[in-house]
């Protein structure tokens, strides 16, 4: 088979690249001054973050020092709102109560999720993804709806009471299931379960089974293998889940408002009230800042722990 030579000598039909023009000049310029391109790409996001996050939080700080009077908001600098928070024992109490409730939600969520994630991670291929998606599906619906869904379950005419009555375990409907701390905590655990399951699942799923085999080979029974190998290696996932669930629980508003009655009130409710009922914006700003501070503190603490965790792993 005779194949023609690709003639590359000068003068042959050699096709050159497309001729330069404005567009290529601009591109060449961008190529040389690379950072301009990066900045251009980041600019919209930076602007958005400024308007959505940075400036609003700054406004919170500024507002927290103003005073709210009968005639409106006076702009002189004062620490009165902070004093108000510290002075009235109800507010610190509410803060601590919300933290406690959020911790409860987190711990319960962890206890429920860990075995579940463990089981899911140990499953074999085919159904695993499907089951994982099944866990996430509820998460894709609004938490408002998921909160509301508990009303017909926990109420005096709800499913639980209905079953108790028909099974004749009680003679009249029990009110204890709804409009208190219990219902809030239960619902929050329900809503944010995927937040805990997914990270734990991901870190357990990544676990190399051979590590456990090696541990067994070295004489560890399944329980010790779990304690010394599986558990430490799943810590990043556990840490992530704990942080996400706590923050979500601590910042809750809808759930306590809808299901909390008067005893299940949380920090978020009082915060929101400053912007509807009481119209004490400056004080509300203080509360918002406190909420953000708690969240940031948790993040800082958590990141410290994950570093420790790295050391942990090196030892194990």
């Amino acid at each position: 088979m005779a194949i023609e030579h690709l003639d590359t000598r000068p003068g042959s039909e050699r096709w050159t690249a497309a001729p330069p023009g404005v567009r290529s000049d601009v591109l060449a310029l961008l190529h040389r001054v690379g950072w301009v391109k990066i900045l251009l790409f980041l600019l919209p996001a930076l602007l958005l973050l400024a308007v959505y996050l940075v400036i609003p939080v700054a406004m919170l700080v500024v507002m927290s020092f103003y005073r709210s009077t009968m005639f409106g908001i006076t702009r002189d600098f004062s620490l009165g709102n902070y004093a108000h928070f510290a002075g009235n024992p109800m507010f610190p109490y509410l803060l601590l109560k919300s933290i406690r409730m959020a911790l409860t939600v987190t711990v319960l969520s962890l206890l429920v999720s860990y075995p579940f994630a463990y089981f899911l991670a140990r499953m074999s291929g085919r159904f695993k993804t499907a089951l994982l998606i099944l866990v996430m599906v509820p998460f894709w619906t609004s938490y408002l709806i998921r909160t509301m869904a508990w009303l017909p379950i926990l109420g005096i005419k709800g499913v639980v009471n209905y079953s108790l009555l028909s099974l004749q375990l009680v003679t009249k409907p029990v009110e204890v299931f709804l409009f208190n701390e219990f219902s809030v905590i239960l619902t929050l655990v329900h809503i944010y379960l995927p937040y805990m399951v997914v990270p734990i699942f991901l870190s357990l799923d990544r676990l190399d089974v051979r590590l456990l085999e090696a541990a067994g080979d070295l004489g560890a029974n399944p329980l010790r293998a779990f304690w010394h190998v599986t558990l430490p290696l799943s810590m990043p996932g556990v840490g992530g889940g704990i942080v996400m669930v706590f923050i979500a629980g601590f910042g809750a508003y809808v759930t306590p408002k809808l299901l909390g009655g008067s005893s299940g009130i949380m920090f978020g409710n009082v915060l929101a009230d400053q912007y509807s009922g009481t119209f004490n914006w400056p004080f509300g700003a203080v509360l918002a800042l406190i909420m953000i501070t708690v969240v940031i503190l948790l993040l800082v603490v958590a990141s410290r722990f994950t570093r420790l965790d790295g050391v942990f792993r090196a030892q194990a």
């Binding site: 961008l30 990066i38 308007v51 609003p56 619906t141 709806i145 005419k157 329900h190 379960l193 978020g268």
Partner: protein
Amino acid sequence: MTGERWRRLFRFYALAVYVFLYVPIAMLVLLSFNDSNAITLPWGGFTLRWYRALTENQSLFVSLKNSVILGLATAALATLIGSLAAFAFRYRFRGQAALMRMILLPLVIPGLTIGVALLLLFHALGVRPGLLTTTLVAHVGFALPYVFVLVSTRLHRFDASLEEAAMDLGADELTTFWQVTFPLIRPGIIGSALFAFTLSFDEFIRTLFTIGNDNTLPIQIWSMLGSMVSPELNAVATLIVVASVGVVVLGEVLRGRDR
């Protein structure tokens, strides 16, 4: 306990967790067909009258329309801004780690505080709350980190040598993007957009503080919960569940197609 019994125990436990996850929603769907004036039991018989009532509810349609418009706008803007940022992060530059932390920060700040802070901001600026102004800002800011993460991971898996090959063969940066990069990441971007839509569609707390007189669907549901608690609520909720899940499933399917 033997291995087999552990497995059975686990299976039972997992089933219990799924029940816990799904029973409330299932109840919701079930009760939307309940022929009774309360949103709870007892069961009064199967009926479609609540869905029919929905079709006659004008305000609900307006809210739905608002939610959809807002969702589309959010999806478009968040996807654009988030994708651009994700592309920028392919290069190394100073302050990269700090900037990424800032972009992801909104994920952990409670929506309630954001809503309140935005209210302060717009009030100080004298901007009147509006669906496609103040609320849009809140929604796009909310969805941005999600889009950023989704697009970033997709870009991370993208083989950069394909772009080099295109440039080697004579395509400049723009042509390379259009002919090679974009077609290959397009499903991922569309999937992210759909996810952003769902986030916006279901968003409540930030919306509560930034919307004025307009209603989105979640806002209307909230007021219905306060005033007229009827099974119509269950019907609306069911439809929202179906819509939300449907959109995300669609997005996942598209995202999976480019694998």
